[in-house]
Symmetry: D2
Subunit: 489 residues, 4 copies
């Protein structure tokens, strides 16, 4: 079992707001002290971090572990997915609960069960896959009793998950009234449907048809629409998987005008490009199929730039692992390829290499975009996302002088492919500590199913601050109703 | 009766592409010659235009004459509306045929009857108020047999005229296949509905509630959406009544990227602001109710600027006249105020004063935005929109040194209000000639019901040029389908 | 000698404002009639244009023929350059007079002499290479007596041609007062100088250093600055050789706000990319050196898009031909490579293929961007730039079903390289007529030195329309001076 | 004298990264503990902060105390200015050292003397008023020996402080090499000069002429230019006093593309508008004269919005106090009115009321924009800008339920005017603590000259993180020099 006492010595401790040379002392899974030169007794395991960065473990805001799909589901569950995450320096994630037959409660309970094998901490968003009064009522239960403070709406997946603007507005209002964050998958589902039909008519049935059927303009459209509807309701909005310049530009524009919009790029969008979908090997090409699609060269760099300066705020993965036999369902029709790529294990390394090693962001920024901002947005800071006395001891030690190489063979996911296969870079997570337990060290995992805990998340995170005042400011600006004599001559 | 021969002497003849000192000779309603120093016999009526501009009569691309509304209808019909138009220098308009019980043919026939009393030339757009296979079929008849080359779709008026994105895409594709121009009324109908309910809940039932319930952001949203869907289908788009910076910005952005989008500001949006809707007198305030609403100060100037440089292309009116007893239907609920303002008579004077007198555009530009561009877009140039040999003799003589004043008392509409009441400015249409007949001179109208003709409009106007090649370019850019071995290892 | 009478039968006659099936009848170098089915006597040479486009000859707004450079000069003079132009369908150009020792008059006289061998019509801009009172005085002479209505200022070429902002403002004001159009070469000369030093320090002395030393951001900067200074003075601005998205975006932004800015892309910027400058063969790489540099892939497409919708208005070449022995001056230092590429012969074909064949613009637009808009801006329309009765008979016949191929071996320039070598496409100028003389037919040139005429250009072209009113509007908007009591307590 | 021990009980302690209910314990001017329920002995002064916010004292990044001007200088010196600051909740500022006869050292020494009477902590920026090798050398001394890590360049004040682009580039490079932050006053000085002459020629000599002579377009121009030049050199840039939408838009654009640009709005730009400059009373109007000028209505709101979402980062004042007798120097010519407004005392209250009370930002954001971000940028965090163990005890207690009113009569500046006179709002700084001393309590100041300390600021603050890597990334992207055979055939 894990030692209850731990000292990390000599490293550079990095929080989003500050970095300093300091030791970190941990007891019973909690950080007790962060100070230079802490001395401890012999019962304390000491880890030398000299020349390395000691940082909050990564928090992945966007994953789909053990998500049902036809008769099976995504291939990484709450154990294998967690193992992979921990090996890559991520110590918490927030997964999307999918309602069961429209029932949020049933969905929640199903995910409770799935998560029993967890070996790291986790939280839940809830996907809203249809809308009715029951759903609206259950949202309140989720927020007030179940620790869920965010709901995702789908503007795509016509005939299945898609909601129209009327329901989106209803959903946004409901979220606002509960202090919960509205999230959107932003693509125009009607147009995607049209695009898919067009491709099939053109005889384009392979994975490249996936990209061609849902171009960036449709993501830009839906992002613009969701932002403006959220503006109209005056509630914060979180845009998941920002994959294109088109979507990013809309977020930038809204933010410049003072609107509270959060943009989440995902690793695949930051470091890959769509050319893989044209790969002559179906298995390879299909492994890159996700929605919105990975875009053409150029989108990656601009998303990185926007992330660097805070136009986009945090990085997810949309880890949604289907192996090649599952992907093969779409061998004759790209519409049947299960959507999703891996990333939960690779995110921390790829963001370091792409953003920090290239000089685009500082190490403190790295902590912000991989961990702290997620914790703040979902209201679990500073319990998570910080190395501060009192915080959970979810900690990684990253050696900036070491290097990493990603390989399907050595990764910890159950997937038989890896969209990042062959990528190398500088910076290596050498140690991962989950609530005080050293779970990854010397390239070895030590994890036990059932050790992960559910982290309930309270509503009204900082993005709601002052919203009531903003509403009041709005109302007082209307100069209405105008007083009029009832009859006018 | 009108003399069959007419000489306009000594004026500056202005076409959109050129202006020159020249005489204009007309026979039997057709321009025969445009040259300096034409000499004619005694049987020719001669009009001296020295020091004045001789220009193509205005063409109003957007009107609603004799449109049914509850038990009555708009108060200007094809006679009174035409009389007003001619008194203001407009010699043709394009009205929107409203289908009858969903039937385009029935709608067309109804408008044929209404237009029997016409005293100037006119054409028709067709409004699409719902969508089904019959409508799709009838569109072809309208284009091929009835001289209609444009169809308007409504993104607002939920529960009535509004179409969703799926149908919008269908409509756009159908238009493209017929060479007909797709038009949109661009406001997010779902959000407008939400906004209206909000206002009523807030106790804001007066005309100011109209503006507050459908802010510019909702026009911007729908404009952005329509543009991107048209882009996705690769068909030209015409945005009617561009009322806000938000919508204009979207048009500018699309055009910069090479997309064929036409933006039609209307006079009310160019010269008025929303403050009238807060007027304490209901009758006054209600007269300014139209959709999208007239916006706050600032939108007007930016729309003018965009018009000056061709970001927006032509000016309409959306003339849709309801008198104050009709408007009074909404005395207790702004949602019941019939939407519409006047303008068919005032457009030419107000555009001159606002755009030319202020130095924002040249006189040739004036002709372009009030007449020629409309004729080109709707494929009736150079029969209309030009002073060239062979063109219809729809001509105005404008004295730049004279002045105008707009007044409810003296206008020629049947309306008992006028949203431009009291406006004065420089530049006066002193003579209007409709197909060779002098119908307005010395501030006197000489018009006869039934003298106006229907001007059928052929499909595939210049905005369709090269579209097939653009489609081909698109297809060849896809590099798809990729050839793949059927089985992948 | 050329027949004095000519009939072009059966073609589609295209003007910027309209295209129609018509014959064109020419006498003594002037177009006499444009009508269907003209019948003529036997003394008239008849050219069959069935199935072809009959269009105004191209006007190249930007060339440098016989420009002095060290002991020699550009290798195409007013004869060889004209021959090349005519073979490519261009029948007029506007060259830049370079002052001699600061004297505009001396410069003008030198160019008068150079142009004696002209075999097509030409006009002059004047470059302003330094600024003082004499220059200011001579500008008036150029405008009032010499037929020059445009002056170019250089924001680059530090230590040589560059003017600072103070002088740029002076120059703009002077232009405005004369009704002459201010033009700018827009790059930040100080920064270019810095960039050049940096490259040399890095050991980058080859042609790629040219591109790297003056990136697009510096063109964007200077374009933004020139536009804003022109705005401040309220005078129209013409930006020569718009090579980058950065510059184009600034023009788009200014135009959207109503400012009168004209953007001239050049063919090399529309169809090439910078990769040539990295070519391992110096001779090849050096032939692509011009300023601002040809940009990376992506700029070309966006410039095309902006041209398609009128954000940019007309296409030039900056034809400035140095052969490879001249270019070799910079073999050890890219700063010494004479700047300039060819294009006067290729422009019409490449614009057709790139813009019309791809479906981006219509044939009428083609005429506008290659001919008419230039004629309008420089105030020689409709003498030039139109096929109208009374216009000069500068006409081309283009066969859209034929094709072209560009080759250094077969081109008519004296250059021993050609940056478009090997380019093929659809559309072929089969006949060129210069003022009634058939100078290019059956791939044969028939030109005689001295047959070209100087076309003086009057000030106050249409871009100045209403500028005085705009100034008045500005002044009345100031609400100043405020009346104040002299002493305030 | 001040007690050496202090306990602030029961308040909400707010840092930029987190807020929590906690007590704050201070000893000897340093914060020792921040925890709930601290118990202390009787020797400790206890302040009850229940229901109030306990926050880091404000840091004003932009002031001009005791700045020489003609025979006198700004009227607030390091004592009166500090007193005013402390009464308003600001506990540190960074003033601009002005070189003496071009000597940085002499300037530094002069400011050392001026600051002897300081009663709160302060740091220094250095203004660069001309450029030569001595200046360049002295910059190194300032950075390495004197604790200065930022240098301001002037793009305006032609003939006096203005530097041209060549020198700006030199200065930027020098700053980069020293790890010092380059700052700019961004207005186009040549154009301002032109504008001033124009106003005088128009007879507009009053304060409104100040605004009219240097419109926002000139601030936008210079901001765009400085940003692009900084980009070209790859060094961070700090834009002081962002007063207009034009400048803000440029900053937003640069940041979106990943560039490190910091924008500092000042209070006057956030809460005032230019209409005051048209005030009929000269004394009043003149008191609002500063550069860049306070802009027209509309700029304020958009600057607030940009501040709310981090497009702009921190708020300054440009406190530069001239009393009405000094301002009267420009009674006949606005160019002679000394430029500057007050604000050091009012900033904290006005930002609270404008940004927090309106709901635009959270309380943590308030701390960030008024204190923490300044400390981070100038590399003194977390000594300043935080309430953390080890930080200086610069603390304020703000009561959100109390209110403030600004009045010339009651303010603590020596000024006889106040541009915020009469402004009221919610939120009141009830206690100010400067390094452990309670200097403001019960509306009473207790300050002693000479108690303020100089806070030296080290170079290479966080905005420089990774810059060397970014340079390396740039270099490796050049793919140059290309290897070429020396002679090419
Ligand atoms: Zn999704
Ligand atoms: Zn997902
Ligand atoms: Zn409408
Ligand atoms: Zn309408
Ligand atoms: Zn040039
Ligand atoms: Zn040139
Ligand atoms: Zn300043
Ligand atoms: Zn200052």
């Amino acid at each position: 079992t894990a030692p209850s006492k731990l000292l990390i010595k000599g490293g550079t401790v990095v929080n989003a707001h500050h970095q300093q040379l300091a030791d970190v002392y941990v007891e019973d899974g909690i950080i007790v002290a962060v100070e230079p030169s802490i001395t401890v007794g012999d019962d304390v395991k000491v880890i030398d971090a000299t020349g390395k960065y000691v940082m909050p473990g990564g928090i992945d805001p966007h994953t789909h572990l053990d998500m049902s799909f036809m008769s099976s589901g995504t291939i990484d569950d709450f154990f294998s997915g967690h193992a992979a995450a921990l090996a890559g320096g991520t110590t918490m994630h927030i997964d999307f609960v999918i309602p069961v037959d429209g029932s949020l409660t049933a969905g929640y309970e199903a995910y409770e069960r799935k998560a029993k094998k967890a070996c790291m901490d986790y939280g839940f968003h809830m996907a809203i896959t249809k809308w009715n009064d029951d759903v609206s009522r259950e949202m309140e239960i989720m927020v007030k009793e179940k620790g869920i403070n965010s709901f995702k709406f789908f503007m795509a997946y016509k005939g299945a998950l898609m909601v129209n603007d009327e329901l989106l507005l209803e959903g946004f209002k409901r979220c606002k009234s509960l202090g919960a964050l509205a999230m959107v998958h932003a693509e125009n589902g009607d147009a995607v449907d049209e695009g898919q039909k067009r491709m099939i008519e053109l005889g384009i049935t392979g994975p490249e048809g996936h990209a061609l059927s849902r171009p960036a303009v449709l993501e830009g459209e839906a992002t613009a629409r969701a932002i403006r509807l959220a503006n109209f309701v005056n509630t914060p909005l979180y845009v998941v998987h920002v994959m294109s310049i088109d979507a990013m530009e809309e977020i930038a524009k809204a933010r410049k005008s003072g609107q509270r919009v959060i943009g989440e790029p995902v690793v695949s969008g930051l470091v890959l490009d769509e050319s893989w979908l044209w790969h002559p090997d179906f298995k390879t090409a299909a492994s890159y199929v996700m929605s919105p699609p990975i875009r053409s060269k150029g989108h990656d760099k601009e998303l990185q730039a926007a992330l660097a300066t805070g136009v986009l705020q945090l990085v997810g993965t949309d880890h949604c692992a289907f192996n090649s036999t599952q992907k093969a369902l779409g061998i004759d029709d790209f519409r049947k390829i299960p959507n999703g790529v891996n990333g939960i294990e690779e995110r921390m390394h790829l963001v370091w290499d792409t953003m920090v090693e290239s000089g685009q962001i500082s190490v403190t920024d790295y902590v912000r975009v991989t961990s702290t901002e997620c914790a703040r947005i979902f209201n679990i800071y500073p319990r998570k996302g910080a190395i501060l006395p009192g915080s959970d001891a979810d900690i990684i030690i990253l050696n900036p002088n070491s290097s990493f190489e990603i390989s399907t063979k050595s990764h910890h996911s159950r997937l038989d492919t890896n969209v990042y296969d062959g990528k190398k870079g500088k910076g290596k997570v050498e140690v991962t500590i989950s609530r005080g337990r050293v779970v990854w060290e010397n390239n070895e995992l030590k994890v036990t199913p059932g050790t992960g805990r559910y982290i309930p998340m309270q509503p009204y995170s900082y993005v709601f601050d002052g919203l009531d005042k903003k509403d009041a400011t709005y109302l007082s600006s209307l100069k209405a109703p105008v007083k009029r004599a009832k009859s006018s001559s």
